[in-house]
């Protein structure tokens, strides 16, 4: 008996040990192969259906748009070799270069036209369709109602309210059969010939060439996509035009890309193979990185970050985003700007950045983060705009609170601070709770909610003060500022200011870059005077990266591009 048992136990250990010795660590040398942790399974690889950063980080390797963002965050010619912009800055005429799809067929202007119309079609239900609302007629087409094979404008009554009919207890929009939308005529994207694409915009959009590098605006091969709606379900029919080609997609596990031999700029591409892993657990990712199982990782455990940065195993990249608290200005006491300002001044952002978040975050003394170019070449919107208040200006905060009728916080009603489940949000909320209590003598209770519940409460103004974050969609101050217009979908605070709304509308139609930026600076000044939100810090994007990876590029939008990277 004892022998039998010992045998079982010994053999188990032997198997473990034997399998262990088979492990031979492959020497990387200067093999042009890299392993990257994407951090999660991408929701899709279809550019029109992209939902966020993980999808973009796949799509940008396998697709090339009209333009591509370079390492200075500026758009450069890609599939478009040149373009002409009309004097009113509303018509762009792109000339395409000779380039081909991975199946060998040439990329034409018809492919772009097809891809953009497809992304805007209501039945595609693209979440990023709004990145094409700049194109003339784009928003109207995306809002249209399909009836049979045709699209119609939604019917409205004499007052301009949408007409609906009740179907089984639900209100359904009704099409106006007299107003047809024909996307081939009514949407401002037209292939003049195989190599010429004409785009007409709703209004001048100075950052349009940035947008043409965005995943939603990537071309798709019309011949393939129009005949196969499962083209992006796996790698078999996934015809693309970028620097790399997707050869394997094992869900929730990994993706393999190889250099695309048909890419027009293939001589620039040095990497021969990229492997994406989908490790969600940050500590596991770090262990794999330390064990040599990955070279670059998109997630870093925050507690280890300072140590990793010091040892050179992690780098902190700028990230176009602002972490802030929002006030529900429709409820007392936050309808009083003095209260909002007192709360904004009474916190020590520097302490939060250096001892809590520890990822090189910049204390936010304004709303629009660093990293967006201003009108004059080489200038930064933030540097030009300056700051709007001092960090931890406690004396001023106290004075404002007293002026509002709450000297030393006396009589200040109890309120709750809402955030969604996350250790980072919790630590920050606790610190701020304590700062308000110490500096102003006011107390608040913390309320944590699951993501969906939190979003629901936030959207319904069912909160007093809530945590929020905003990541830019494109590199222009507008992506941060236009959300706070009256009743804007992402305003979320109940704040409304007529002058602000006018400035944002004015900026949208101003073509002169200097005047336009001045208008946006004015708008930000109003926002930062009225303070419906309290900026806390500007985000950063830490990345695990070995010293062997050269030319790694991650845009301020958080998009990774491997086109120019190589191993050393």
């Amino acid at each position: 008996m004892r022998k039998a048992l010992s045998f079982v136990l010994i053999s188990v250990f032997l198997v473990v040990a034997l399998l262990g010795t088979v492990s031979c660590k492959a020497t990387k040398g200067t093999l042009q192969e890299v392993t990257y942790n994407l951090g999660t399974e991408p929701a899709t690889i279809d550019p029109a259906l992209s939902q966020g950063i993980p999808e973009a980080n796949v799509i940008l390797q396998v697709f090339d748009g009209l333009t591509r963002i370079d390492k200075n965050n500026m758009p450069q010619p890609a599939i478009a070799k040149s373009w002409v912009i009309s004097d009113d800055q509303k018509t762009y005429t792109f000339t395409l270069r000779d380039a081909s799809w991975t199946d060998g067929t040439p990329i034409t202007a018809y492919d772009f036209e097809y891809a953009w119309i497809r992304a805007l079609s209501p039945e595609t239900a693209s979440q990023y369709a709004y990145q094409l609302y700049y194109v003339k007629g784009g928003e109207a087409f995306n809002m249209s109602i399909k009836s049979g094979t045709k699209y119609y404008v939604q019917a409205v009554d004499a007052k301009g309210n949408p007409v609906t009919k009740s179907v089984g207890g639900k209100d359904v929009a009704v099409p106006d059969m007299t107003k047809e939308i024909d996307p081939s005529k009514d949407v401002g994207v037209t292939a003049l010939d195989a190599k010429t694409l004409q785009v007409v915009l709703e209004s001048p959009t100075v950052y349009f060439l940035n947008l043409t590098a965005f995943p939603t605006l990537m071309p798709v091969c019309k011949a393939v996509v129009s005949t196969n709606d499962k083209w992006a379900a796996d790698v078999t029919n996934f015809v693309t035009d970028g620097p790399f080609k997707l050869t394997e997609w094992s869900h929730n596990d990994k993706m393999t890309f190889v250099k695309n031999p048909t890419y027009w700029d293939k001589d620039t591409v040095k990497l021969s193979k990229i492997t994406y892993l989908m490790v969600t657990d940050e500590s596991t990712a770090l262990s794999m990185f330390q064990n040599g199982q990955m070279d670059v990782g998109s997630t870093v455990p925050l507690s280890e970050l300072p140590k990793l940065v010091a040892s050179g195993d992690a780098k902190i990249f700028p990230y176009l985003g602002t972490y802030y608290y929002m006030f529900n200005v429709t409820k007392k006491p936050f309808d009083d700007v003095r209260v909002r300002k007192a709360l904004t001044l009474a916190i020590d952002r520097n302490a939060i950045a250096t001892s809590i978040t520890q990822g090189g975050q910049v204390p936010a003394l304004a709303y629009v983060p660093n990293g967006i170019a201003d009108a004059v070449a080489g200038s930064d919107f933030r540097t030009v705009g300056g700051t709007f208040y001092k960090d931890a200006d406690i004396a001023a905060a106290k004075a404002l609170l007293a002026e509002a009728g709450y000297p030393d916080g006396k009589g200040f009603p109890a309120f709750t601070l809402l955030y969604n489940t996350s250790n980072a949000h919790k630590s920050i909320a606790e610190a701020i709770q304590q700062m308000w209590s110490k500096n102003l003598g006011i107390s608040c209770t913390l309320k944590v909610e699951e993501w969906g519940v939190y979003l629901d409460d936030r959207n319904n103004l069912n909160y007093q003060v809530a945590r929020a974050g905003w990541i830019g969609d494109y590199m222009d101050p507008n992506t941060f500022l236009d959300m706070f217009v009256t009743n804007g979908g992402n305003n979320g605070t109940g704040w409304s200011n007529k002058t602000y709304d006018d400035l944002i509308s004015k900026a949208k139609v101003t073509t002169d870059p200097v005047a336009r930026m001045a208008t946006l600076h004015d708008a930000e000044k109003i926002l930062m005077t009225d303070l419906p939100i309290m900026p806390i810090y500007f985000y950063t994007n830490p990345v695990l990266i070995t010293k062997h990876v050269m030319n790694f590029y991650q845009s301020t939008l958080g998009f990774v591009d491997w086109k120019n990277a190589y191993m050393e």
């Binding site: 399998l19 693209s126 262990s287 979003l455 979908g489």
Partner: protein
């Protein structure tokens, strides 16, 4: 016997339908929906998405459609993973979870039973103390601690095994041992106590008195009897191993089905929540059914026949 099986199959289908119905309506009571984002989507885009997934139909119609499709074996498209269906997700994920689960269950039986017997035979000796200590550790150390510990020792310190990932036999070892930790300990304790009890039975004394070798006494006479409690716990244990793999799958970056159990709820991915829940509940009732059948085979006193009233 056939009638028993038929009855059980019918009640199993009923249970699954009840689970499907309850889940369908309960998840709709959750605040927010599949298209809620911190960056709120424009109203017309939400409208397009709802139309695409038929979420603008009345709820009763959605339910009827869903059950209709379910009976045809179609679990619908995932709301989160645009190009995938829930059937797809289960097809990809379940074999992985099942492989890991089966290896873990085999490990727990192959290690747990001998450990328990060994402990019982050397009752109160040092071997017994070692077994009980290991069992105590296994029962009390949570699997996420075990996972990190194994990773650290075998991956980062000894460099014997990859710390995480999936695809090779070497990558199964650490997660399988993590997952098997609790069952090994549980089975070892169970086997030890029932073995001690069985060894005091008269038929064992008889067997020994007949002059049978100790090996025969243990393997032929005692073992079969201690298997009954083991099989009883094995049903729920297998279920726990299969469904409880969420943490292990996440930590070891394994592309299994377990993680969808939690992530789909966070994403409000309605069809995936339903599909995974229905699939797992079907699996559970089926496992219990198998356990019941195994009893009959192990214990001649249990036979699923109608009692004839004479």
């Amino acid at each position: 016997m056939l009638k028993f099986i038929l009855q059980r199959v019918l009640s199993m289908i009923l249970v699954v339908l009840i689970v499907a119905t309850a889940t369908f309506f309960m998840m709709r009571l959750l605040p927010s929906g599949p298209f809620a984002r911190e960056k709120k989507l424009p109203a017309q885009i939400i409208q397009n998405l709802e139309a695409r997934y038929h979420l603008n139909d009345p709820l009763w119609k959605q339910y009827v459609d869903y059950i209709g499709n379910l009976l045809r074996g179609d679990l619908g498209p995932s709301f989160k993973y645009t190009n995938r269906t829930v059937n797809n997700i289960i097809d990809d994920g379940f074999p992985v979870s099942a492989t890991l689960g089966v290896v873990a269950v085999l490990l727990s039986v192959a290690i747990g039973i001998p450990l328990g017997i060994w402990g019982a035979l050397k009752q109160n000796g040092w071997q017994d103390n070692v077994v009980m200590f290991v069992a105590l550790l296994g029962v009390s150390v949570p699997n996420f601690i075990m996972a990190v510990l194994l990773m650290l020792v075998f991956g980062l310190w000894l460099h014997l095994l990859p710390v995480a990932g999936w695809g090779s036999i070497r990558q199964i070892i650490l997660p399988a041992f993590t997952l098997a930790g609790y069952p090994i300990a549980f089975i070892a304790r169970l086997v030890r106590s029932s073995m001690l009890e069985v060894l005091r039975q008269e038929y064992i004394t008889t067997a020994r008195a007949k002059g049978l070798s100790e090996r025969l006494v243990i393997f032929r006479h005692a073992l079969r009897n201690i298997l009954i409690p083991v099989v009883t716990v094995l049903g729920p244990l297998i279920a726990a191993v299969f469904t409880g793999s969420f943490v292990v799958e996440k930590i070891f970056a394994i592309p299994g089905l377990g993680r969808y159990y939690v992530t789909s709820i966070n994403d409000r991915d309605y069809t995936t929540i339903l599909g995974v829940t229905i699939f797992y509940s079907a699996l559970l009732v089926f496992m219990n059914f198998l356990v019941d059948l195994t009893y009959a085979w192990l214990d001649p006193r249990i036979r699923y026949v109608e009692r004839k009233v004479s």
